[in-house]
């Protein structure tokens, strides 16, 4: 189920204007994704770690999330060095590990971790509702935002409905096994869940229509930047400039 373990806190980063955090995380991610030189990528990873530290998040929980993504990256390490064309570093039987393949994997690992960490530090440190409101204030498309917010609102309801169905199956003696009957039961449960979700969607739409819904959503939240926000934005701009110069001017 959706949990927001990082959303609340009292660190400086938690208190920043959410619009600023979204803008910075986005700009930073683009720059990291487009960078190719190792000094820039290493600097980015270090900065991300530093910012995670400043957000004072539970290290264990952060590590678990990061591990999840790195599991996928591990597969790249198993495949890419062997299949990517280039100068061989050494041979493993009939296969050869290429220099280019290893470098590519290293870049991908650095980039994805830096981006993931910055999003944990800056975007997951606000409740989803605040994220929606801030996106609205940044003039992102309303439909997108309300898709996000309605999903967030009903994912819990649908989960409850699923738990109810599972409980109903359990009290009638259902125990998951690897039999065709188990698979059939799960298929029924899923089917039932879709039916209920669509009936629910219709009732929610009715409720919206009853309250005069005409396709428009409104946002009542206001954000006003404080002095700290201005100081932080100066800091963020220098981070971005620093990364840019590491990548495009060859200082190091």
């Amino acid at each position: 189920m959706i949990q927001e373990p990082f959303a609340t806190g009292s660190s400086h980063i938690h208190c920043l204007d959410p619009r600023l955090k979204i803008l910075f995380a986005t700009a930073y991610s683009f720059i990291v994704a487009l960078s190719n030189r190792f000094p820039a990528l290493f600097a980015a990873l270090m900065l991300s770690l530093l910012l995670i530290g400043l957000a004072r998040l539970n290290v264990w929980k952060v590590a678990k999330r990061v591990a999840l993504v790195n599991g996928l990256i591990l597969f790249l390490w198993l495949v890419l060095p062997l299949t990517f064309e280039g100068t061989p570093l050494f041979h493993l039987g009939p296969l050869s590990v290429t220099r280019e393949g290893v470098l590519l994997c290293a870049r991908i690992s650095l980039k994805s971790n830096a981006i993931l960490l910055i999003f944990i530090a800056f975007v997951s440190t606000m409740p989803i509702t605040t994220l929606g409101h801030a996106m609205n204030r940044l003039r992102l498309p309303g439909k997108l935002i309300h898709l996000l917010l309605l999903t967030y609102r009903y994912v819990f309801v649908i989960d409850q409905e699923y738990q109810r169905l599972v409980r109903a199956a359990k009290i009638r003696g259902f125990r998951p096994k690897t039999t065709i009957n188990t698979y059939r039961t799960y298929a029924y449960l899923m089917g039932m869940l879709f039916v209920r979700a669509s009936a629910r969607a219709e009732r929610v739409h009715h409720a919206m229509v009853c309250r005069g819904f005409d396709g428009r959503f409104y946002c009542l939240r206001h954000f006003s930047p404080t002095r700290t926000d201005w100081i932080w934005s100066a800091f963020m701009i220098s981070i971005i400039l620093g990364l840019l110069s590491l990548e495009w001017t060859r200082i190091i």
């Binding site: 917010l149 967030y152 009732r203 929610v204 409720a207 919206m208 009853c210 309250r211 409104y218 009542l220």
Partner: protein
């Protein structure tokens, strides 16, 4: 009563769900201004369906609907109706679709064309009236069942309707919250139709009761709420009732 005082006037309404048995059969129902009407009937007798027909969410296969003195038939007519009659849904999770409490209450007023400040003002006032002051920034799905129910009522009342359709408002409420609801309902100067399966709640909230059965309102056994003495295990000893 004279016709000018009619808020809702249904004549010979019939309705069938596609592929189902007839739910409403030549049904007639009147709600007058200032009247507080209770609607009872067995599960599946079509009470919720009837409310949806009044709000124009379902269209009857035949019959005439007159709301506040005007015949309504098309979507455009019902849009007016929805501004003046509020429907409280049987399931609060259907009614509360916004992520935060304040946004949910303000949704109706904003759609009625109120400014953001006015909408906020109205919402805070309504929340206060229902004892939900301080809830405005709470996340909707984290509220308890009773709080959700009261909040649903707040979202309806914030539109300042002339009449209410309440679908099992007391369902799942504890005695204190029920008392609170009764207090709120009797403090409102609004006409309403209320569906409930609870006799005690009914006795405290309505002046007249209609029974629905076989797709019709049974006018001949139209009744008036009253209390009954009851029997139970500890009856012999002095005890308190809520």
């Amino acid at each position: 009563m004279d016709k000018n005082n009619l808020i809702i006037n249904l004549e010979e309404i019939s309705f069938i769900y596609p592929g189902g048995a007839p739910v409403l059969n030549q049904l007639g129902l009147q709600l007058h201004r200032g009247e507080r009407l209770g609607l009872v009937g067995p599960n599946g007798s079509g009470k919720t369906t009837l409310f949806q027909i009044i709000m124009g969410l379902l269209r009857p296969s035949s019959g005439r609907i007159e709301i506040l003195g005007r015949t309504v038939a098309r979507e455009k007519d019902f849009r007016e109706v929805r501004k003046r009659i509020g429907l409280l849904f049987q399931d609060a999770d259907d009614q509360l679709f916004s992520p935060t409490v304040l946004e949910d209450v303000a949704f109706g007023p904003l759609n009625l064309g109120k400014s953001k400040d006015e909408a906020r003002e109205i919402s805070m006032r309504t929340l206060e009236m229902l004892g939900l002051a301080g809830f405005e920034d709470r996340i909707t799905h984290n509220l308890s069942g009773g709080e959700k129910k009261l909040l649903s009522l707040a979202t309806v009342l914030a539109m300042e309707p002339e009449a209410l359709l309440l679908d099992e408002p007391s369902n799942g409420l504890d005695d204190n919250t029920k008392e609170k609801l009764i207090e709120v309902l009797s403090g409102l100067d609004l006409s309403y139709i209320l569906i409930t399966h609870e006799a005690d709640f009914l006795a405290k909230t309505v002046d007249r009761i209609c029974r629905m059965e076989n797709g019709k309102i049974l006018t001949d056994i139209e009744s008036y709420p009253h209390y009954h003495l009851h029997e139970h295990a500890r009856g012999r000893y002095p005890h308190e009732h809520h």
